[in-house]
Symmetry: C2
Subunit: 556 residues, 2 copies
């Protein structure tokens, strides 16, 4: 079987100008970045502001498992299928982070005949957006430490600086560090740590800003730490929002590429789906909406994290109006939720499959609570048996749930035509009554509890003493009206990663809150959240190479 | 008076395709990066390999002072002047590092009407080359720490890892750090430190590699530290040269832009001129030589550092054949070398000027030792008096030295026509007898002493006990045949920065050696060398901004 990279490299790409022409862009609205990538001007939104938005379709999934669900692949495949059916379509996706690419994943651009290309560019440095975010994040860190070194006029407490440096790599040795060593000429020693770039608040801000002015205002609101008197210190206090916004000039522009079947794909930003909201940029989604009649986008992890945040945070801030949701599942992942071990997934197991369907059931209920029409997409694997597929079909029929079986990895858009037809039918015939699950004016606890009980199915929420104290402080600081961004394990509906399927009778424990005031949300952490991954024993990087002609191998 | 940024932004740039056409490139040999930047394919060198090289002109200067010499400005101005005289010309320059831009410099792309554009792109993220080098450098660091964490098969001594992480910022708090804290799941605690990216050996390697295969071979030779048994550990031992080379795929391609007068400029790489060799990439210089009849390039700092390394390291490795040297001086800098304080430079002072000319005299002698014709360029300031200019003219006349007065900041190429005519005359009428100053087969000490006595004018070289020991070890490791890259203060011919003018009767003290085996040289450090700058009290960054339309201000 061919690898994703082999399939991608064999594809005859269209010059990016052809993709630009599909979207009827003006000459001054785009800039080429190489032959197959472009940056899009923010002026497009202004020119088309009175035009009605295209139909926004969100692709989400059951709780992810090591078996893989293929959410990005279904997203691209659905976009290609809609295109084949004559709909003017654009796909909106996140940019991959180099850390996971070099660690375990080896690539994050869909797969098979449903991927975005040129995949080797997108998986590596692409158009430099993530590098610009790294530089901006670390420039702020350098300016903070320099402020303290040069006299500390703002009276920043070096023990309470919350702004961390970042690298876009998996580098566990940087999780906890001590900096400023070496004597009085090197700065002030203090504890610090590095996050992966995609966990930076700068990334979250870039993905929620609606233009340069909004970007600057959000940057200005970032809380970088606290003074000796415990009051928060912001970027505005240091007067550096201008330079930070300047460093993001090009990174704020969405990127245009194509899918392997030549469908326009706008790919921009990629915040973590636990510590942040896990969707591509608002600008990319809005621009796709102005340029196409159907926009297919995805949100990170399962519906309990990605879709919840897409619907409670991003859609609210951006005044988006999603029309339908696709929930991706595989028999393999459902069987894992039903208790099957990873090495037994190729074996038929109806009992486990039926048990695992409970996980899907919960996500369906969640999507219904947001008032959205939905289709379940069964992403078909060659090892799926007829009996297994029949069980899923019957399960859906019994619940009056629309199901489509997709084979988009192997067949591209053709393998997603059934799904596309179901989606079109939902959009054209079923009214979306999208509304967020909670009102911003409710308290921090009420918001957390709305998510925990309605989305996760928890019975209640417990708070650590630290988080109790923080809720009081954050409310005093005027931050209580912000939406909540839950940082929870993606593997389970609960906050215990080993609890697969549909756990019941459980509590969610809030360990700590973190203010992301620039992004515009409060992060609520359940359990330990790694914001800097580590490399495995055999990193994917060890297989990567380039030959004397500049041809890359080892991405997949 | 207009700022450099204002002048740059007012310029009507030619589409990059026009610049490409000037150089007769084939369609498949270039890729656009925005409307005014391009990446050039390495295949150009292959297509033109039998074509004779253009005339290579090296621009260097007296020892730099805070008064500024305008070496980059003269380089661009000379290129523009040669172009005005009908010569097919290309300029080859280094890419600016973000650290100094945000610290003190505010920009590093020439000045006035002799700069390269778009200056705001070049000074910020440009085409991402330096970010790619940062990521590659730090990927190696993460792979090293992961190797140790995962069992340390190579028996790397964590106390003797010499590979440092980098950021392309001035961040003194990262000079000395402790990493790997937090317990057994976070790695192995050890002392570490960060350099600025342009001090990375990866940058030096990128600037000396002649293609992907050579790049990979050089990366493989990097020494990252030592085993418990004191033997050196290389990138090849970790088997990661493939992924590192892959991460540099696009960064290895030279960048094409234009000067403010539309002359092609190939700008690529920017290694430090102390810890590394301080010139743009060999690929850029070679490519410019194949595409133009005159190539004007510069080397970092004064002739004692930049030109010495250009001629002893880069030209030797790249088999370049420089035809003439331009030595830039200003009356202001000469007066500083003669003892005048910075705030008195606008006042006429013949005595100090005459004394300061001794600094120029030494650099002239050095260039003559390399067998190269030269012209002195007096970069004229409005505060220069007629008497001062006359003194310099007479000084040059008495020594039979060619002098040209340039006004390229204010007048662009027109202000460099006299210099260009002198340069053409040298090239056409005076034979270059370029040869390096030492043979590679001589010992490490003989090479160091050749540079110290012949280029700096030192009486002898002293060695610290550490460096004595290292010379024995390095020779045993088989590294003695490599050229020497001296890390010395740029401000003085000696290793004492306060010794301006032409110091005599001094020793050079070698404190430490560092192996840059991938780059292909041994660094010899005199005194303390900062490889991570700090920010000043009022960083240039504080004045930088972007408006709602994406227009940048505060670069200069």
């Amino acid at each position: 079987m061919k690898t994703d990279l082999e399939i991608a490299v064999e594809t005859e790409l269209q010059p990016i100008k052809e993709i630009v022409n599909q979207l009827d862009l003006l000459d001054e609205e785009w800039e080429p970045y190489g032959k197959y990538k472009a940056k899009l001007s923010l002026n497009i939104l202004n020119r088309l502001k009175s035009k009605a938005d295209g139909n926004l379709i969100l692709v989400t999934s059951i709780n992810p498992t090591p078996a893989g669900e293929g959410k990005s692949t279904v997203t691209v495949g659905l976009g290609q299928a809609l295109h084949q059916l004559g709909k003017k379509t654009a796909v909106a996706l996140r940019e991959p982070s180099l850390g996971p690419v070099m660690g375990l994943k080896g690539g994050a651009t869909g797969g098979g005949y449903s991927q975005v290309v040129p995949m080797e560019d997108i998986n590596l440095h692409f158009t430099g957006d993530i590098h610009a975010i790294t530089a901006t994040n670390n420039a702020l860190a350098a300016l903070i430490d320099n402020h303290i070194f040069q006299g500390n006029q703002e009276q920043i407490d070096p023990r309470r600086i919350t702004w961390k440096r970042v690298v876009d790599l998996n580098d566990r040795a940087l999780r906890e560090v001590v900096i400023g060593l070496g004597g009085v000429k090197q700065g002030v020693p203090r504890e610090d740590g590095f996050n992966i770039t995609v966990a930076s608040e700068i990334m979250a801000i870039l993905c929620l800003a609606n233009g340069y002015e909004d970007l600057k205002q959000r940057l200005a609101k970032i809380v970088i730490g606290y003074r000796f008197d415990s009051t928060p210190v912001t970027v505005a206090d240091l007067k550096v929002e201008g330079v930070l916004a300047m460093l993001l000039r090009d990174a704020l522009k969405p990127n245009l590429i194509q899918t392997i079947e030549g469908v326009p794909a706008i790919i921009h930003g990629g915040p973590f789906a636990n510590i942040a909201h896990g969707c591509n940029s608002l600008l990319a989604t809005k621009m796709a909406g102005k340029l196409a009649d159907y926009v297919v986008t995805e949100a990170g992890f399962g519906a309990d994290l990605g879709a919840e945040k897409f619907l409670n945070i991003k859609s609210r801030i951006g005044e988006l109006d999603p029309k339908a949701v696709v929930i991706v599942a595989t028999t393999r992942a459902l069987k894992m939720h039903g208790g099957v071990e990873k090495d037994q997934l190729a074996t038929e197991n109806i009992e486990a499959l039926e048990k695992g369907l409970e996980n899907l059931a919960k996500h369906i209920e969640t999507v219904e609570k947001f008032g959205l029409p939905f289709v379940v997409a069964l992403n078909h694997f060659t090892t799926d048996t007829e009996a297994e597929v029949r069980v899923i079909k019957e399960w859906c029929d019994n619940r009056n749930v629309s199901l489509a079986i997709t084979t988009v990895w192997a067949e591209g858009g053709k393998g997603g035509l059934d799904l596309a037809k179901e989606v079109i039918q939902k959009v054209e015939q079923q009214q979306s009554n999208y509304q967020p699950l909670y009102q911003l004016e409710t308290t921090i606890k009420e918001k957390i509890e709305a998510i925990a009980t309605q989305v996760y199915g928890a019975t209640d929420v417990k708070y650590s003493p630290l988080s109790e104290q923080q809720i009081v402080e954050f409310t005093k600081n005027g931050w209580a009206d912000l939406p909540i961004c839950m940082a929870k394990t993606q593997y389970s509906l609960s906050d215990q990663p080993e609890q697969l399927g549909r756990p019941t009778d459980f509590s969610i424990t809030i360990r700590e809150l973190r203010p992301s005031i620039g992004a515009g949300f409060i992060v609520a952490l359940t359990g330990d959240m790694l914001t800097m991954p580590g490399l495995p024993k055999e990193p994917a990087a060890l297989k990567m190479d380039i030959d004397r002609d500049g041809q890359i191998s080892g991405l997949f």
